[in-house]
Symmetry: C2
Subunit: 332 residues, 2 copies
């Protein structure tokens, strides 16, 4: 009998030691340098998830929202969805001979992006609506899927879905491991993002909030399908980000992450709630490993939100200082 008890005791010691050792080495954010940003994130997560702690928040209320472009994946030199729209114009051009003379399509076909952008937001919306409508939701899913599987970023020559930020993937996972529900809340197209959100971010389609065009139920070959109409339904940006979040979730998040002035109201609305709150801004400071831009950029302008982050003490994530790695494929 003595031998059995000795073996059992040894086994228990080994188990306990292994558990302790694992806990010590198991940094949930290995791509983050030690510093104020990482510390603020870990402190917040421990505060809200420590039962009996003063900052405890039940898991049903642990909602975290993330902007996509510039926050979870890159957005330079152009929002990736605009790259898709441009490629789509070229694909569809043979069926639209009138585009050879009609702006903004003519400029797109001539790779004259300066003219495309000179038209402002209205032109870009026309481009988006034209290239994103006219098919069923299932067809559109397949079109985006095919594009994502083959199109390459003009500078890195990587797939767009590879240009996601490794530290943010770890943050998403860390929050979920602490019973957060992670959502995307982006001005990007909801049906565009849903194609890759589950595979790339582990965020299922039902946890993606974004801009949308209207859809309509129709019968195709006697089967009901949803057809995408060339009509804007909702632009999930600026003061409408809280509107979209409330519409889809029905709760005020306790944590929000963005990178531009388009995220300002989302961050303000999130932090105005009662109890522990975390607001994070990804600041693009690394011109070597990624891109460096903020107050004067036309893509992802970060100006008012940077001021507010500084005055309100939000967590400013400095990509150059805070991140060991940027992309999953890079060792730097």
């Amino acid at each position: 009998m003595k031998a059995i008890w000795q073996k059992l005791l040894t086994f228990v010691f080994v188990m306990v030691f292994t558990a302790v050792a694992t806990a010590q080495t198991n940094d949930p954010l290995p791509s983050w340098n030690e510093g104020a940003s990482k510390q603020a994130i870990v402190q917040f997560v421990e505060d809200v998830s420590t039962r009996d702690g003063s900052g405890f928040i039940p898991s049903s209320e642990r909602i975290a929202v993330f902007d996509n472009d510039g926050t979870l994946w890159a957005e330079q030199p152009l929002y990736f969805q605009l790259m898709f729209a441009i490629d789509r114009v070229k694909t569809l051009a043979p069926m639209h001979p009138e585009w050879q003379e009609q702006q903004p399509f003519k400029a797109v076909l001539e790779d004259d992006l300066e003219t495309v952008f000179s038209g402002g937001e209205e032109t870009l919306l026309e481009l988006i609506v034209t290239t994103h409508a006219g098919n069923t939701t299932e067809e559109f899913d397949q079109i985006v899927r095919d594009w994502l599987a083959t199109a390459k970023h003009p500078q890195t020559k990587r797939l767009y879905t590879e240009m996601v930020y490794q530290p943010m993937l770890e943050l998403l996972e860390y929050l979920r491991a602490n019973d957060f529900k992670t959502y995307i809340a982006s001005a990007g197209g909801i049906e565009f993002m849903r194609v890759f959100s589950e595979e790339v971010y582990n965020v299922p389609p039902e946890q993606v909030i974004g801009s949308s065009i209207k859809t309509q139920l129709e019968l195709h070959d006697d089967k009901p399908v949803l057809v995408r109409l060339p009509e804007i339904d909702f632009i999930d940006d600026k003061a409408d980000k809280p509107v979209g979040i409330n519409q889809y979730i029905g709760r005020r998040p306790i944590a929000a992450f963005g990178n531009s002035d388009g995220d300002l109201q989302m961050l303000q609305w999130t932090t105005a709630g009662n109890g522990a709150r975390l607001a994070g801004i990804v600041h693009h400071t690394d011109g070597d490993r990624e891109w460096a831009y903020d107050r004067s950029s036309s893509i992802g302008r970060l100006d008012k939100a940077l001021d507010e982050a500084q005055s309100e003490g939000w967590t400013i994530i400095d990509m150059k200082k805070d991140w060991k790695h940027i992309f999953p494929f890079s060792n730097k």
Copy 2:
């Protein structure tokens, strides 16, 4: 040593026996009579959740949508949300002296519901919009919460949240126990239903889809809040039910339950998907324990959807025959 092995063996036998006994007595749908409806539900759930089975569907795709009025809770003699609107007109009347002479408010204040309903859908929408707007999302939540805690059904004298169908509560739970995500998809107001969906149905606010009015971000005392505007945003009914489901979930459900013609397109769209599908219609056949109505009712009319259920072989849940109990408070 022999004694130890004997004890261990006895222990294992007891455990196995207990497990088998529990499985046998642990009917997940105890309020359902044995019959075709219960059998179809159990068969479907076992088909989609049996790994290696021909009907297997991964849990991420196990989305089930439920209409609310007449499917999860009662809807007679009037949709409960209309009862709320009527009570709200009476509460707000002192601040609106003009309502004494202005329809449909005058008729509401005189309890002349016949006149109220003679105005058709447009009148009802005016009533809803007027009584549901003008406050913040948090204020509206509290107003509905207070009403639900006190208002009583005119005939049963029960709280409205008690008038939910016990067999459907069991069905929701049974589906969730088999890794389904359960959603509400109702023409009812999304913010109205979200107040009680989690407590009553165990369906969190982010899994409620419904009709909505527009909201707008405003600063109140320097704090950002969402204000409810007197303007319809979306009516989640008929051909727009699939639109709403796709907008919020981004996937086609594999199971859907409704009770009226307003659910027809949701059921058609659900069953048109590939693989195992379940469509259920709650048929109000029990005039003694609940209400008996279908083809000619102005509330919850079930006519075309009943024809289609019969021709397509959908599961028609006959409340009188299929349900042992109707409400949680009743023993019959």
